[in-house]
């Protein structure tokens, strides 16, 4: 009986998330070297990015194949604000989040008219348009060479690590609050049955755009942090690979939960760093991981990753 209770506690998504975040808080104390901490910082950034995609796709059911638009867009916006307008990096990061949120509202409108694969294709096109701007206005965006020579974050890896972890914690908390509130009920109803949701008085367009925007804010801030941490950015941040990477992270971890995308982001980031030594096989290996996951465990590799449940909310 006691072990049954204990099992139930550990199956609670909130407990899992808290345990995972507590474990992550200890990383700088036992990390083997700075390279290891650096990978964890990047993993934290991708965890926030994955949570932003999961908020849109996992909870509202709006498929995005172009989330790199927000990630790369946030990175470029923050860097440009810092480099050309002299706005301090933390403020530039926050402003880039707001800008990505506004972009989410603007892009959310055309997305209302399409669903499923058509929505996926439309979102896939967004970062390509941005990429076109980057290449065309090369004096500003630096074309293929990208941008460098702007303000980075702290010189201390520990400080950078805890700031990135704070972003993860804030995103997890925000997601939990949202999915456990009345918004959680509303977005789950939209995901389950749009026509029925509208028939009981839910303005589905408003909530879809709201979550498109919210997801954009989070992805934009994660991209901005990534840019200031790496101290140089290239158009690769807007490439299709960046949109695919976040999908793999969430699908591998488990769509529609909180701990799933988190774990997926850490697993894939570490895998990614080892695959850097064989770049020509990297995407092929990701594709195989994705196919195997979808075939064998379509709800994610983590067997204990709980989905958004009843009771007005999530885990």
């Amino acid at each position: 009986m006691e072990s049954f209770k204990l099992t139930r506690i550990f199956l609670d998504g909130r407990i899992q998330s808290v345990l995972l975040l507590l474990a992550l808080g200890t990383v700088p104390f036992w990390a083997f070297n700075l390279w290891f901490v650096r990978i964890f910082i990047i993993a934290n950034v991708f965890a926030v990015y994955a949570l932003s995609w999961n908020l849109l796709v996992g909870y509202t059911g709006q498929i995005s194949f172009g989330h790199a638009f927000f990630f790369g867009g946030g990175a470029y916006a923050s860097v440009l604000l810092n480099k050309y307008l002299g706005i301090p990096a933390p403020l530039a990061m926050a402003m880039s989040g707001v800008m990505c949120g506004l972009a989410g509202v603007i892009l959310g409108y055309p997305c209302l008219r399409v669903r499923g694969i058509y929505l996926a294709l439309m979102t896939w096109a967004f970062p390509l348009i941005f990429l076109g701007f980057v290449m065309y206005f090369g004096e500003v965006f630096g074309r293929e060479m990208g941008i460098s020579g702007y303000q980075g974050l702290s010189l201390s890896y520990s400080v950078n690590y805890y700031v990135s972890l704070a972003l993860v914690v804030l995103t997890v908390l925000a997601t939990m609050v949202i999915v456990n509130s009345r918004f959680g009920l509303i977005i789950q109803s939209i995901r389950d049955n749009e026509v029925l949701a509208e028939s009981v008085g839910i303005n589905i367009s408003k909530y879809k755009i709201l979550f498109f925007s919210l997801s954009g804010v989070i992805a934009g801030i994660s991209g901005a942090f990534y840019a200031h941490f790496l101290k140089s950015i290239t158009p690769e941040l807007l490439a299709v690979d960046m949109s695919i990477l976040v999908i793999i992270m969430v699908i591998v971890g488990g769509l529609g939960s909180i701990v799933g995308p988190l774990m997926g982001a850490y697993l894939v980031t570490f895998l990614n760093n080892y695959l850097l030594y064989i770049p020509e096989l990297r995407m092929m290996i990701y594709a195989i991981v994705l196919i195997v996951t979808l075939f064998l465990r379509p709800k994610g590799l983590l067997p204990w990753s709980p989905k958004m449940g009843s009771g007005g909310g999530a885990e």
Binding site: Q188, S199, S310
Partner: protein, 241 residues
């Protein structure tokens, strides 16, 4: 004054005239049956009133407000809600959450759960609060449909074939629920093919055939009308009454 006025409503799907110049009025507090053979345009009229399908011509007025171009979700705040012919639910949400989500546009916080529980009690699904819709038998899903619509606090409820697929005992139970709703002052428009159950319940019946209004009157008038008998009820009904 009529609660709902449907004025010269028409709908064409390409060359097919699904609804042709249909007009009727619904008064507050009555139960009106909307009957007719398959393809007569009954569900299309519900879809037109509820804004799911755009009207080719005509006007819909609710409480003296023109709602012809009002969006489906806005109708709920005005006091109109509908159910669908096939049972539909939020499959990954419990029965309680299925109903609770329908309260969110009119109630806040703890009021929402209270209202949802009251509504679930009204249709007799208290035991199934925590169940998923997939775990409910068909008859209970029909009740869940009605509970969800009721949770929006409607003045006018449009029910599309609430008795379809139900056993006689389930129909009787649901009929009692609908009488209770009438007692609460809710106006009901019911599309139904199970006329033996509908006729004793309805104050008035509107008959549609090939997209046009064939007859409107009390259930007694309807079952004795020769055109209705020929178009829909058939000779057996004539013999039975």
């Amino acid at each position: 004054m009529a609660l709902l006025e449907v004025i010269s409503l028409s709908k064409n799907f390409g060359g097919l005239v699904a609804v042709n110049d249909v007009s009727f009025q619904i008064s507050g507090g009555e139960i009106v049956g909307l009957i007719g053979p398959n393809g007569a345009g009954k569900t299309t009229i519900f879809n037109l009133i509820s804004g799911l399908v755009t009207k080719s011509r005509g006007t819909v007025v609710f409480k003296s407000t023109d709602i012809t171009k009002v969006k489906p979700y806005q109708l709920v705040s005005l006091g109109i809600c509908r159910t669908f012919q096939l049972t539909s639910s939020f499959s990954e949400m419990s029965v309680l959450d299925n109903v609770k989500v329908a309260t969110v546009c009119k109630t806040k916080g703890s009021e929402s759960a209270k209202k949802a529980r009251e509504t679930i009690g009204l249709v007799g699904l208290e035991e199934y609060e925590g169940s998923l819709p997939g775990e409910l038998p068909h008859g209970h899903l029909k009740r869940l449909d009605i509970a969800r619509a009721l949770a929006t606090s409607p003045e006018l409820l449009l029910l599309d074939e609430p008795f379809s697929g139900l056993a006689i005992s389930e129909v009787r139970g649901l009929t009692e629920v609908l009488r209770r709703l009438k007692g609460m002052g809710i106006t009901l428009v019911i599309i139904e093919h199970m006329l033996r159950e509908l006729m004793p319940l309805a104050d008035r019946v509107i008959v549609l055939s090939f997209g046009e209004k064939l007859k409107e009157g009390s259930p007694e008038e309807i079952v004795r009308d020769q055109r209705v008998i020929e178009a829909y009820l058939g000779k057996k009904w004539d013999d039975a009454i």
